[in-house]
């Protein structure tokens, strides 16, 4: 093993020919190098500006990324948290009342026609308490209205079959 190290060290004496050395040296030194210019103030400013601009841009991107999520969460049209539940509930209740009133008016007109049919009577009987419960404040005497309209309708309209009455009710 020691012998290898000695042999390797002796290889250190290998050198190129002096002619090659001199020729290569002169060829290399006759060319011009790329010399580093002394740093001027403007160059320094530009370098720092570049670095600063890239850092600022990266920061802005990160800010937009996170801010975008929170803005979207706050102002998204799909967001449920921003809905005014109380208002919606009131609105929905108002809509329901109108529908029921419209239905009631219709049912009021349909009442005398379907009186002969026992099954319709039960329907009306169910509706009347409901009507009195829901719209009692608006219509002071619903039974009187019904009875009056009944008397009017019996004179003006022809009697309906059960199927027609049901169809009208469903409409």
């Amino acid at each position: 093993m020691k012998n290898i190290f000695t042999t390797l060290k002796s290889l250190r004496a290998i050198e190129s020919s002096p002619e090659y050395h001199a020729h290569s040296r002169s060829v290399i030194l006759n060319t011009s190098p790329k010399v580093s210019r002394p740093r001027i103030v403007w160059g320094w400013f530009l370098e720092n500006l570049e670095v600063g601009a890239s850092v600022a841009l990266a920061g802005l991107c990160i800010f937009l990324l996170f801010a975008g999520f929170s803005v979207w969460r706050s102002f998204s049209p799909l967001s449920i948290s921003r809905l005014d539940l109380a208002g919606l509930r009131a609105e929905a209740q108002a809509i329901d009342i109108q529908i029921k009133l419209a239905g009631l008016r219709y049912e009021e007109s349909a009442l005398p026609i379907i009186t002969p049919v026992s099954s319709v009577e039960t329907t009306i009987a169910e509706v009347i308490p409901f009507q009195s419960a829901t719209v009692s404040s608006q219509t002071p005497d619903s039974s009187s209205v019904i009875s009056s309209s009944t008397s009017d309708d019996t004179t003006s309209t022809a009697p309906l079959t059960l199927d027609e009455a049901l169809r009208q009710l469903s409409e």
Binding site: I4, L8, E15, S24, V27
Partner: protein
């Protein structure tokens, strides 16, 4: 290391040809040997060494002293140039078939015949090693660079260099034993 090397390097970086000439005179034999052991052919080694120093001179303005020896920078240029050379080189004859005259021995006349034969054997065995083992043997045992310098040159840790040099010597020894 060259006397007053830092000042010489500073002057060379400023484009002073005489300063780079001094660096050339000092480091050219080392780089030449490194390249010669890697490529195994004198003329190719001369061409590549010339290219290494030409490249170093052209890019000396970009050289920055990070605390590593200047030689590390040169060795790295040489190593990269050799890699490029092998990447683009046409198939060549093997090292065994080379004319010994293409591979100059150190002051041939002064050496005994036995020593010359031994040197030739080591050279051939060296060429049979893996490229990274060649780098380790050349830098550590022929050029006697420090572990730190070698690690920097090969882009490895100092521990890895120690391990590799042990394996490289073992491999070289095995090849030499096989041949004898």
């Amino acid at each position: 290391m060259l006397d007053g090397e830092k000042t010489i390097i500073k002057n060379a970086v400023r484009g002073e040809a005489s300063a780079f000439g001094k660096l050339y005179d000092f480091y050219q034999p080392k780089i030449y040997r490194f390249v010669l052991f890697k490529v195994g052919h004198r003329e190719e080694a001369e061409d590549l060494t010339h290219e290494v120093f030409l490249s170093a001179w052209h890019n000396i303005g970009d050289y920055k002293d990070f605390g590593f020896p200047f030689s590390s920078w040169l060795y790295r240029i040489a190593r990269n140039r050799i890699i490029d050379h092998y990447r683009t080189a046409k198939p060549t004859i093997s090292i065994d078939a080379l004319d010994p005259e293409n591979f100059p021995s150190p002051s041939r006349d002064a050496l005994s015949l036995e020593h010359k034969l031994e040197l030739d054997k080591v050279r051939v065995a060296l060429k049979k090693l893996k490229p990274e083992y060649q780098d380790i043997i050349i830098t550590r045992f022929i050029e006697e660079l420090s572990i730190k310098e070698t690690a920097m040159l090969l882009e490895k840790t100092e521990g890895a260099v120690k391990l590799m040099q042990h394996r490289a010597i073992k491999s070289l020894h095995a090849i030499l034993s096989q041949e004898s």
